[in-house]
């Protein structure tokens, strides 16, 4: 429905976990539990996203056109292993980049205020 014509800045600022999911998916397609695992070990702290919260975010992100379901290449035949994979849409990538830009600006301001340790020479 023409979501890709939207201004990505409409959705900014993103919730931290949404931004994290976008960053994870920017590196490649993952299924739900894969996202949870990646979130846990993500550089810069990492967070525990619970399954319920994750799937609500995913639903919202799909509705906003940030991500889409991806048909995996080699689908397992075991029904318990069958699950959806998610990937970034071009619009989602735009939004993530926009949010990253915003956060970079914030970080620069924090550095000016000497809130970032060991960043003098940067």
């Amino acid at each position: 429905m023409g979501k890709s014509d939207r201004d990505p800045r409409e959705l900014i600022p993103l919730k931290p976990d949404v931004f994290l999911i976008l960053s994870i998916l920017a590196r490649g397609v993952r299924h739900g539990y894969g996202i949870m695992q990646a979130a846990h070990t993500w550089p810069g702290g990492g967070m525990e996203i619970q399954a319920g919260a994750l799937y609500r975010r995913l639903k919202w992100m799909m509705a906003e056109g940030l991500i889409q379901e991806v048909r995996p290449v080699n689908r397992s035949e075991d029904p318990s292993e069958r699950k959806r994979d998610y990937g970034l849409t071009p619009f989602g990538r735009l939004v993530a980049r926009e949010e990253a830009k915003r956060m970079a600006g914030l970080l620069a301001a924090a550095r000016d205020a000497e809130l970032v340790p060991g960043a003098e020479g940067a």
């Binding site: 299924h31 739900g32 949870m36 619970q50 399954a51 609500r56």
Partner: protein, 911 residues
């Protein structure tokens, strides 16, 4: 095995998750429900594999919360499905639950009296149980602040042959244990101590503490938060170092962060602070090892092994704490301790029959109180069950009222599960409100309890409403609701839906037999009330007997104050004497004071046992070396405390400076060691060693008088052999000042304080109490038990009465048409009245009978708390019977009058 257990646990957790997942709307679940479950399962599985059982539970807990929170958020965010759609979906439990919740709230609001009574009854039960649980939790369940506390043990001497329970060890036993046992990884000692803290800008204060071996805290596993603990060499010779408790440091020294290395004045000498302990309960060596709360000011100083009273080995002053080797069990420790005890006895280094006890520290601290607390906890448990019974009864009665409504709803298609759910919902709402109100009651009750607890209850500072208490309240609220609704539910499930419509038709009567369940509950209530009343009655009688026991002295009008003369300031015996004399002179001059004396212990206190030798005759049992309680007292002591001298003379001022050491013994000593013959003029020898001034005490004393027995060890214990020596012949720095006054002298504590400070402005006066207070403290535990059980019995009785009243009222209203017919046909008022009262008595009688049998069974467990009252005391039994008879009659009268006043016209009028 572990694999199966893990798989089972994971399965159970995931099954639980499915339930919480239902908080998501159905559409959402249809879409990604399986994915969510799978992701949760994988996450939980990896937590279980990676970090273990606890981590998995924690993960599950977070997952459950998340599902609940997100599910309801999603529900709010997504528009509800159109009604037609909703009707089509079979699975709409959650929607129904909300509907039921609203319906139940409305139903409960419509019957405010019913709801109010039910909530109040539940709150009473839940509140009482929670209040007692907060005590049980604090005293018994909360962990001790020491690592691996189960390996900590305490060692005592005991001598079963002489009926001596447990007493402190002498140095000889301790060193021998240290040398020749292998079951302990560490063994430390603590001896009780006190000190006067003085500083230029604060009033002097007396602080309790312990003299400890250097490894004491290492054995406990507690490190100082600041500074260091003691070094082993500090146990040899006098080292002026001290460790402060956290509260002493914070309160007295303002939490000075630079305190380490500073010098403070204790007993007139400068002592260096080497460390501050963390803010936890730490043990204090006294006559038994106690565990004061973290707010109590304490200090620790190194025990000087070279000091005379230690090196002489004889004084039993040491509480020994040890940690078991990881491989050693307490059994092995006991075996080794027993062999040490045997070798000491056979080497003539310990009296015949002396044994060494090894007790777990936990048991030592809370062991004695455990039983009492559990009895109380059982009592509140019964009370809660009673309350549930009452609510069940109310629910049943109401279910009857609502039979038509239920039948109509059932006829309109409400399935049984739906009816049950709704019932459950109502009861849970009642339970939640009851729980909330109960919690408020418990908070109040628990602070009331803490204010009234007997002083000997350990770990009082741990008592309060915390997370586990809250969890307990939630748990019992749900449990009580479920229990209360068990019977009504069975009724709903078991009955024919159509029956309700049929039954409530005109002219139907509910016979007595039909209320069998309600009646059984009432009988049960009466029975439980009987048990509690019986127990309360027995304890009350026991307390009465105890308070009639003659302690052997006259407590009224006697005030006690504790003094502690520091050896540094009072370096010579003469100074102590002159202090005593000056103080006595000043206090005696106060108006209304009739007698003044000093003593090491007050009459209800025993600190020292000593071995004695009979010099003029053979001991009655050559195998047994005599031992007796050692009590130094001043002249006028027996007159001040009111202990009669039955033979010979009392101490007088002439004994002070005489070279002729004399003593007074009690009747118990005469009975045990002199076969009851007059001991006057005979001599007794004993060695007590040196006092703190290094003076050698005399060793041979002539008996000049015999006094009546005094219950030194508390009112429950018979008198033990004891001997008194004049304090002036062997003075101590730590003494009690005893003053007898005529009662009209006003502020005695203030006056005593002034007089002491007039003689020595640096001397703190502590623990000023009347002897009556001391006596009351001795009975505090008994009084407390009675207070609580009386409360329970009263509540139980109220509940039972309400139960009887409720059921009879209900029966009468059900039988209204029948009674109407009978009255119309000419039945006498008295016969109608009688039939209801007989019904009440039948219920009461049956309950009473069952309760008495159960009570007699239970009372055997109470026997340990009873003092000279048989568990089947007839007075108590008859008292219980008459109280319950009256209550039954009373609660039956109102419904009976209502029945008798039935107007036949009114009763027979069509609905």
């Amino acid at each position: 095995m572990g694999v199966y257990l893990r798989r089972w646990l994971l399965g159970a957790i995931c099954a639980g998750y499915e339930v919480f997942l239902r908080s998501f709307p159905k559409a959402f679940r249809d879409q990604v429900g399986e994915d969510i479950s799978l992701a949760f399962k994988q996450g939980c599985g990896s937590a279980l594999e990676g970090a273990g059982f606890i981590a998995a539970i924690a993960y599950a807990w977070r997952g459950y919360k998340d599902a609940l929170k997100e599910g309801f958020a999603e529900r709010r965010a997504s528009p509800p499905a159109p009604y037609a759609d909703r009707a089509k979906t079979r699975n709409h439990t959650v929607d129904n639950l909300f509907l039921d919740l609203r319906f139940s709230l409305r139903a409960l609001r419509k019957r405010p009296v019913f709801s109010g009574i039910a909530i109040f009854v539940l709150a009473l039960g839940i509140g009482s149980a929670t209040a007692i649980f907060s005590v049980v939790n604090g005293v018994l369940l909360k962990p001790f602040p020491y690592p691996d506390v189960d390996r900590l043990v305490v060692l005592w001497n005991s001598n079963p042959e002489r009926g001596q329970d447990e007493y402190r060890m002498a140095a000889r036993g301790f060193f021998e244990l240290q040398r020749s046992t292998s079951a302990f990884s560490g063994m430390a000692v603590a001896a009780g101590a006190t000190a006067n803290l003085t500083s230029p800008d604060l009033p002097p204060s007396r602080v309790n503490g312990s003299l400890i071996s250097a490894d004491f805290f290492q054995v406990l596993g507690v490190q100082p938060v600041m500074g260091r603990s003691f070094r082993p060499e500090e146990n040899l010779g006098e080292h002026r170092v001290v460790l402060l408790s956290h509260s002493l440091w914070a309160d007295r020294f303002g939490g000075d962060p630079e305190i380490i290395g500073k010098r403070i004045e204790m007993d007139g000498i400068q002592v260096e602070v080497v460390g501050v302990m963390p803010r936890v309960s730490l043990p204090m060596g006294g006559s038994s090892l106690s565990l004061p709360g973290p707010d109590v000011h304490l200090f620790w100083r190194p025990l000087d092994y070279d000091q005379a009273w230690i090196s002489q080995f004889a004084a039993h002053v040491m509480a020994v704490v040890a940690r078991l080797e990881p491989e050693a069990g307490i059994f092995q420790a006991r075996q080794q301790a027993a062999s040490v005890a045997l070798s000491l006895v056979s080497g003539d280094q310990a009296p015949e029959g002396e044994e060494i006890l090894v007790r777990p520290l936990k048991e030592q601290i809370v062991g004695d109180i455990r039983r009492n607390l559990l009895v109380l906890f059982a009592a509140v448990g019964l009370l809660l069950v009673l309350a549930c019974g009452n609510v069940a009864n109310l629910l049943l009665t109401r279910a009857k009222d609502r039979e038509r409504e239920l039948a109509v709803r059932a006829a309109l298609g409400a399935g049984r599960p739906r009816l049950v759910t709704q019932n459950l919902m109502e009861t849970l709402i009642l339970g939640s409100f009851g729980g909330l109100l109960g919690l408020a009651l418990a908070r109040w009750g628990s602070s009331y309890l803490v204010g009234n607890l007997p002083e000997n209850l350990p770990r009082q500072s741990e008592i309060g409403v915390d997370g586990s208490v809250l969890l307990f309240t939630v748990g019992i609220s749900i449990g009580a609701s479920l229990l209360a609704m068990l019977v009504p539910t069975v009724r709903i499930v078991g009955r024919e839906a159509v029956g309700g419509l049929k039954e409530s038709g005109r002219g139907a009567t509910s016979g007595i037999g039909k209320n069998r369940t309600n009646r059984a509950i009432v009988v049960g209530q009466v029975a439980l009330a009987t048990v509690l009343l019986f127990a309360a009655g027995l304890l009350f009688r026991s307390l009465q007997t105890l308070s009639r026991v003659d302690p052997g002295f006259r407590s009224e009008g006697v005030t006690i104050a504790q003094l502690m003369l520091p050896e540094m300031k009072y370096g010579e015996v003469g100074q102590v004497m002159s202090f005593y004399d000056q103080l006595r002179e000043r206090v005696e001059a106060l108006p209304g004071v009739s007698d003044v004396a000093f003593a090491m212990d007050h009459p209800l206190q025993t600190t020292w046992w000593n071995g004695i030798r009979l010099l003029d005759r053979a001991p009655p049992d050559p195998e047994e070396s005599p031992i007796a309680i050692f009590r130094p007292v001043s002249d006028r002591y027996f007159e001040t405390v009111g202990i009669p001298v039955s033979e010979g003379r009392s101490f007088d001022s002439g004994d002070r400076f005489s070279d002729h050491p004399v003593m007074l013994v009690n009747q118990a000593l005469v009975q045990r060691y002199f076969n009851g013959e007059s001991p006057l003029g005979e001599r007794i020898g004993f060695t007590v060693g040196r006092n703190i001034w290094g003076e050698e005490a005399p060793t041979t004393f002539e008996i000049v008088g015999v006094i009546e027995n005094v219950r030194f060890n508390g009112l429950r214990m018979p008198s033990e052999p004891a001997f008194h020596i004049p304090m002036h012949q062997f003075p101590y720095g730590a003494v009690k000042l005893l003053v007898r006054g005529s009662g009209t002298i006003g502020d005695i504590p203030g006056l005593i304080q002034d007089q002491v400070w007039a003689v020595d402005p640096d001397l703190p006066v502590t623990n000023i109490r009347t002897l009556d207070q001391v006596l009351a403290e001795v009975m505090a535990q008994d009084r407390f038990n009675v207070l609580l059980l009386q409360y329970f019995a009263l509540v139980a009785l109220t509940l039972a009465a309400a139960g009887i009243y409720g059921i009879l009222n209900y029966v009468v209203s059900q039988r209204k048409p029948e009674i109407g017919v009978r009255v119309a046909l000419g039945a006498q008022t008295s016969s109608v009245l009688g039939s209801v009262v007989v019904d009440a008595l039948r219920l009461g009688g049956l309950g009473l009978g069952i309760g008495l049998v159960a009570g007699l069974g239970v009372s055997r467990f109470l026997e340990v708390l009873l003092f000279e009252v048989p568990p089947h005391d007839l007075l108590v039994i008859s008292g219980v019977c008459s109280v319950l008879g009256l209550v039954t009659l009373g609660s039956g009268v109102v419904p009976a009058l209502r029945a008798a006043r039935t107007d036949p016209m009114d009763a027979l009028r069509p609905e």
